[in-house]
Assembly symmetry: C2
DNA sequence: GCAAAAGTGTTGAGTGTACACCCATGC
DNA sequence: GCATGGGTGTACACTCAACACTTTTGC
């Protein structure tokens, strides 16, 4: 291993700097949205970027990503996983920067725009209609979208996008929005219920001018693979 | 974005150093092996580690990983992909070091021990019987093993472990070694041939004291998903 | 009573799994 | 001629996809 000898644990090594960028998805108004910040100055002025920050010496990547979510968007206790590490030499024109991308899911009921009014330049943006993006963040978003599409097919991560209780139709809508295609209602319900990940609550969702729908909840709100 | 302003593209930023570590699998003697280096000095003396190196300012992570393969093991033009980025604060006692792990497959026909006689301390080690490992490299290997197990089920990456031409039994053996379980011969052949990724060559493998086996080859030696 | 979404079963096609015997060769 | 691995087919279970009508509510 070609690691330079050093008695100082915080020694400076001349190499690429490391950032985390967080890709936060939610469903709003029947669309898949991603949280973006508009850049106010510098070479990327007026372009949009994922919330991110430099990784400090005393934090792991997971911690750095959590700190970004908390500081920039007031979000905590959500589903998050590492996505991929991007390292093109020219991905940031200001200098050599490696970015470890994280992928997170929130549900828009618990987390709404008011939580982050402090940031005038942070917004949910439709992932299918992205504005001009800074760095390689468009690529990161597309990579994350692929991960999301495949992972909802073989795991229960969709819980991250749903509130505590929800109807099967609401759940089906989330699948349709992400996959971009209609799903047969009877087959969807049969399959989801057969997985045994949900429990019926005693409640129903009333108020709409049609038959009330049963409300379900996940037995466990943690990642489970289903295949 | 909290990236510090700088007019010098190679400015020094005080943050974690970045290394790549490469996890190179092959099949030898009917076992799944991984390429390891025995460390000769320092706090990890006599422990084993994945081949790795510090990421330079002028190389991407993919390039850094390729350079490690070439310099440390004389390997090039093989299947390789990024695995995961590890960042525990104490993963290297000598200082803060983030490691981007890469995952590679070679077939032991084209690449044998003689290629790397220069390194007396580099060896193929049975992945199920690992020696004392340095850093968090045992964790990295287990993570890579999981990736390998799942990816051979939904892609053609097994080509990376096979020579140019091979028999279906040889291919089945690779699956059995990786998955650690017996597979039914007829079902395996039916399924693999139905994927349409292989072409029959006109040749057979003779010399054994039984009926000669047809030799097959992959139509394309590049990653294809099969599900 | 009517509009609107909730809820529910069956059938046919295709896929996956279990299982046993003959074939070609070397010695 | 016999030991060794190569090569093949069928039947059953299961999963997936297609498809239409009745129920409960709000207005």
């Amino acid at each position: 291993m070609k690691i330079q000898n050093s008695k100082n644990k915080n020694s400076i090594i001349i190499g690429p700097a490391v950032a985390v960028d967080t890709l936060i998805f939610t469903i709003r108004d029947g669309k898949l949205m991603v949280l973006l910040i508009e850049i106010g100055s510098g070479p990327y002025k007026d372009k949009w970027a994922l919330p991110g920050g430099i990784v400090q010496l005393n934090e792991t990547l997971d911690e750095a990503a959590k700190n970004v979510l908390k500081k920039k968007a007031g979000i905590k206790d959500i589903y998050m996983e590492q996505l991929y590490t991007f390292s093109d030499l020219k991905r940031d024109v200001r200098g050599r920067m490696i970015s470890v991308a994280y992928f997170a899911l929130v549900n828009s009921d618990e987390f709404n725009l008011k939580t982050m009014d402090y940031y005038s330049d942070i917004e949910w943006i439709n992932v299918r209609k992205l504005p001009k993006m800074a760095f390689d963040h468009k690529e990161i978003i597309n990579y994350g979208l692929d991960r999301l599409k495949s992972k909802i097919e073989y795991s229960n991560i969709v819980y991250g996008l749903l509130p505590e209780t929800f109807t099967l139709t609401e759940m089906q809508n989330v699948y349709e929005i992400i996959l971009g295609e209609k799903i047969d209602k009877r087959n969807f319900r049969k399959k989801i219920l057969a997985l045994g990940l949900l429990t019926e609550t005693k409640k129903v969702k009333t108020g709409a001018k049609h038959r009330p729908a049963k409300l379900y909840k996940f037995k466990k709100r943690e990642l489970v693979f289903t295949k």
